[in-house]
Symmetry: none
DNA sequence: TATTCTATGCTAACGAAGAAACAACACACA
DNA sequence: TGTGTGTTGTTTCTTCGTTAGCATAGAATA
């Protein structure tokens, strides 16, 4: 899975993170690996990210986070199970790559978020999240049907207060009605666009609309 | 993840919070970090919030809450949660309720599953699975569009060899073409029904179709 | 053997983000 | 209304991450 260099760097980052709580800068890694240029580090980091060991914020200083370590230096040559004749089975195993986020309730077109009395947390795959702040909502209704968001789906929302046109957002209108809609900026106004012919796009002055988050993921159970 | 300054400030806030029960004001933080202006603090706080370590209420004095610490030195967060109930939010934390299942490749209408060279496992929330055997596939194409299954979605499949009419299944036709379709039993025949007007229902004698699994979940990232 | 691919190494230049300092303004609360 | 507090903007400098181009070694492949 990893080359020696990649492995070395990953462990280095891991140690630093544990020790200082702060990830090393490219410069520091360069020195630690006895390189004379940062570009090598850059490539290694990319490789590690691509392979799912790291997560990062691009263009942010020291914004590295380790997602997993390469302990599964898998055993025997059996790992070369090239073939799974019948979709070879694997014992499901617990893994730590889940993040818990709060489930805040239901969201539907035209009604406020119906809050839950008590908080409930749900786990979502870490890969679905970045480093922001997230919560989940259960979708009530069909207003986003044609965007593949069905009644009963659970959506993962990243907290934010602005978004680009075309993003699907949780928008609070007049501080009272929260809906899940596609955002379109129209000059001074904001249009909230459903994805269902039976519903109509609504346009408001920007000051009546507050973005509460951006759709980043969806979970559905059948 | 954090720069030194960010880390220092975070720990400072954490300590104050633990000590006094009250978050420090910008002014106090300014002094503690030996800065001569508050704007620096403002930026640091923004960075911390962006990275998900802090939450705050805008325009509220001292309304800071720590949601996680670097490398989870644990906070025994209960102590902090005594006030600011309006935050009522829980820190994202790693939890063990994920099951790893293998990702077997892509599935599209009319083509065989495109197998991955190497196994890759993905984590899915344990609540999505029962006790059976599961795997995941990435959906390629729009044949189930109207059922809310989009190109690029990841579907979770429970291995099984039969299913009821109306279920969405992975069906292998003539041992070569695997597709994701709605199953309809029609006497001796089996109909595989897409959810897209641009595709047609296909009907085969039952012996040409083998069910390989049943759709039980869906994950989507935006 | 010749070819290609991958991982790696180096230089150099660029641009983006972090940080410090000063200033002015807005808001909450008493 | 005034004080404490948080928010924004500008400027300047530093640190850091990104990219392009070129080179080398080893492994895999033809």
């Amino acid at each position: 899975m990893l080359t020696k260099k990649q492995h070395t760097l990953l462990m280095l980052i891991h140690d630093k993170l544990k020790e200082d709580g702060v990830a090393p800068s490219f410069e520091e890694m360069k020195v630690a690996l006895e390189l004379k240029s940062k570009s090598g580090i850059h490539r290694l980091i990319n490789a590690l990210e691509e392979r799912g060991f790291l997560r990062r914020l691009p263009n942010r200083a020291r914004a590295l986070e380790i997602i997993k370590l390469p302990e599964d230096e898998d055993t025997s040559p059996a790992s070369n199970n090239l073939f799974r004749p019948e979709f070879g089975n694997r014992a499901p195993e617990v893994d730590p790559n889940t993040i818990e986020i709060p489930l805040h309730g239901k969201i539907a077109a035209g009604t406020p978020i119906e809050a839950l009395e008590q908080y409930e947390n749900i786990g979502v795959p870490a890969g679905m999240l970045g480093t922001g702040s997230y919560y989940a909502l259960d979708v009530d209704g069909d207003s986003m049907l044609e965007a593949g968001i069905l009644d009963g789906d659970r959506v993962v929302i990243e907290r934010c207060d602005s978004a680009n046109s075309g993003s699907i957002v949780v928008a609070l209108v007049d501080e009272e009605e929260a809906t899940l809609k596609t955002l379109q900026k129209r000059g001074p106004d904001i249009a909230l666009e459903p994805s269902n012919r039976d519903f109509e796009t609504q346009t408001y002055p920007a000051n009546r609309v507050r973005i509460q988050g951006r759709l980043v993921g969806l979970l559905r159970q059948y």
